[in-house]
């Protein structure tokens, strides 16, 4: 029976090609925009994730939260570093302090941050050396008066090169002289911190020469994704801190993965919002379908009368017109799917993103168009089914 309705729907829609096409356009545009926006959202999300992965998915930072309280003052000590390495999934940890300083080399000077560093710091941030070496265990033991410069800072202070082996003065109430032992390779910022413009001093040396903080500002950890999911590790740490401090706001544990999740959440919300707007165009398209179906029912009043005289029940008439409405919207949905994929493919190409469209999104788009057909076809179909056979037969 359904097959029969499909045959008759094909014939009737084919008999009105232009009208069928025009009424389909609304659905094509609606589904097309939903698909395009969904696909671009998915692509954006993947692109953000991959950018963050490049920045180092293995780094977890532990910062003081919005309401540190006394517990943090007690917890944040050098000993915490050893505690961290006992956690499953953490390979290394380092306490970090930073302070602003005026650096001078010859006539050149720069105002930048000096960061305390340990040998582990290199691994934690997967840093690479352009020249020389990083902070070593020996530097730590001897509290050596050495510094490693970021690539940009090195170029500022030593525009003619030859940074390694030269001296840098740290200006202040009691100026310090540091020997440059290495320059970092250029790399992207992580958590808004620029390695390129930083200066790194062995932590032991930092605490005697640069500043005397009460406690570490933060900790950086090197997570091992092979041993355990980084997000999971970060979550466990967060839970540990929350329990230790008795507050959820005292300490904040962050991994690029959690940031990625936040960013994805933002992208999802945004693309959901846009898809919602696009869905409105689908509703407009659906109203177009309803309009055309009502016209079709009026036009075919006599045909409906004939069919009823031959024994079509109201249900049979209803199904016939419903199948036609679903036919138009489904065909429009498939065309819209192709259009949306085309648009998002071109757009993501321009934006340099990978083109991603999950099968589930495609299925949802097509199912949604069919649902539009059912919803907006229901009323015209019911109207056709309700027609009085005598009135319908005498309709001119």
């Amino acid at each position: 029976m359904i097959l029969e309705h499909m045959r008759s729907a094909t014939r009737s829609l084919w008999g009105n090609k232009l009208r069928t096409f025009l009424s389909m356009i609304g659905i094509v545009i609606g589904v097309g925009s939903v698909v395009a926006i969904t696909a671009l959202g998915e692509s954006a999300r993947a692109s953000i994730t991959s950018q963050i992965a490049q920045a180092g998915l293995e780094t977890v930072t532990v910062n003081v939260g919005r309401r540190p309280g006394a517990a943090v003052e007690r917890l944040f000590t050098e000993e915490l570093v050893d505690k961290f390495t006992e956690f499953e999934g953490i390979k290394a940890a380092a306490a970090v302090n930073r302070s602003n300083a005026q650096l001078k080399a010859g006539e050149e000077s720069a105002s930048e941050q000096i960061t305390s560093a340990t040998p582990a710091y290199l691994d934690i941030f997967s840093l690479e050396m352009r020249e020389g070496r990083f902070v070593t265990e020996a530097d730590m033991l001897e509290r050596s008066a050495v510094v490693v410069l970021g690539s940009e800072l090195a170029d500022t202070l030593f525009p003619d090169g030859g940074a390694v082996g030269s001296s840098v003065r740290v200006l202040g109430s009691s100026p310090k002289q540091l020997r440059v032992v290495g320059v970092l390779e250029t790399r992207s910022d992580t958590f808004g911190f620029s390695f390129d413009s930083g200066a790194f001093v062995p932590r032991t040396s930092y605490l005697v020469r640069i500043a005397k903080p009460d406690r570490p500002d933060s900790f950086v950890l090197w997570a091992d994704p092979d041993a355990r999911d980084v997000v999971e590790t970060a979550a466990e740490l967060q839970a540990w801190f929350d329990a230790e401090t008795g507050s959820e706001n005292a300490v904040r544990v962050q991994s690029p993965s959690t940031i990625a999740e936040t960013m994805s959440g933002v992208t999802d919300t945004l693309s959901g919002f846009l898809a919602g707007i696009a869905a409105i165009s689908l509703v407009v398209g659906g109203i177009g379908i309803m309009n055309i179906m009502l016209v079709s029912v009026t036009e075919r009043t006599r045909e409906i009368g004939i069919r009823k005289a031959l024994g079509a029940t109201p249900a049979a008439i209803r199904v016939q017109f419903l199948v036609e409405a679903i036919y138009i919207t489904l065909a429009g949905g498939l065309a819209g799917l192709a259009l949306g994929m085309g648009i998002s493919k071109v757009a993501s190409g321009f934006l340099g993103w990978d083109f991603i469209l999950s099968p589930s999104s495609m299925a949802v788009a097509v199912a949604f168009s069919a649902a539009t057909g059912i919803f907006f076809g229901l009323y015209p179909a019911a109207r056709a089914a309700r027609l009085d056979p005598v009135v319908a037969l005498s309709y001119e």
Binding site: S8, K308, L310, A312, V390
Partner: protein, 257 residues
């Protein structure tokens, strides 16, 4: 016009193939004295704005199985209303109607549709074939609503078209046929479900005299096979060829000798 008659014709064709014999209809009564139509005290009132129009004012009409009957009357007499009620396209405001032994006066639209499908074959003045479909599809359509599978539908529709002499026109659209051919296709469609009643509304009204005569000759032939035929007409020549004539005047029926 004389196609192969490959349909076995029992002497009491209408009775033997009567859908009344089918089980399932709860209000199925044994055909009372072989009555294919038993109308009692039929009233039909239309409300046109404030006014009430009495189209039928207490019609009693019995039609026996195998009759060839003409219903005549001037326009506005209630002739069409009676035809619609006999054809189960409309229900009386008051009174009872048994079609082929089944009380239909209080049926809902779905059950009326089934009665129309199983027991009544319509032939209209304007043929009323679906323009987009071939005549084969047109003739097969009632069988679709009867739930017959496609293969059997096509076979039966083809046989029916052959029996009215259109076996070589199966794939033609109605617009590709002459008026007489269209009416014969419509007759094939009316007969394909083996109905108890062939109900024709001005069947020759849109045809010239010669073609109209051919259609009436076909009716004779169908009647000869035992099918009950009711022709609604205002044409005395058409009525003259029927075995019995009733006249409707002012919503009442009277026999014409």
């Amino acid at each position: 016009m004389s196609g192969p008659r490959n349909r076995p014709v029992p002497s009491d064709a209408a009775g033997a193939s009567s859908p009344a014999a089918r089980a399932g209809a709860p209000d199925l009564a044994p055909p009372a004295g072989g009555l294919v139509v038993a109308a009692r005290g039929i009233h039909r009132v239309y409300e046109v704005g404030e006014e009430k129009v009495h189209a039928l004012r207490g019609v009693d009409l019995d039609i026996r199985r195998g009759e060839y009957l003409a219903i005549i009357g001037p326009s506005g007499s209630g002739k069409s209303t009676l035809m619609h009620i006999i054809g189960c396209l409309d229900s009386p405001t008051e009174g009872t109607v048994a079609i082929d032994g089944v009380q239909v006066a209080d049926m809902d639209e779905t059950r009326l549709a089934r009665i129309r499908n199983e027991r009544i074959g319509f032939v209209f003045q304007a043929f009323n074939l679906l323009a987009r479909e071939s005549i084969l599809e047109n003739v097969a359509l009632p069988l679709q609503y009867a739930g017959v599978n496609r293969r059997e539908r096509i076979e039966r529709a083809q046989a029916e078209l052959e029996s009215v002499g259109l076996g070589d026109r199966l794939g033609h659209r109605p617009s590709q046929l002459s008026g007489g051919q269209r009416q014969r296709a419509a007759i094939a469609r009316a007969l394909v479900t083996r109905p108890a009643i062939l109900l024709a509304d001005e069947p020759t009204g849109a045809l010239d005299t010669k073609t109209g005569d051919a259609v009436l000759a076909l009716f004779e032939e169908i009647h000869g096979r035992g099918t009950t035929i009711i022709v609604v007409t205002h044409d005395p020549d058409v009525a003259a060829r029927c075995r019995r004539t009733v006249r409707i005047r002012d919503g009442l029926v009277e026999e014409v000798a």
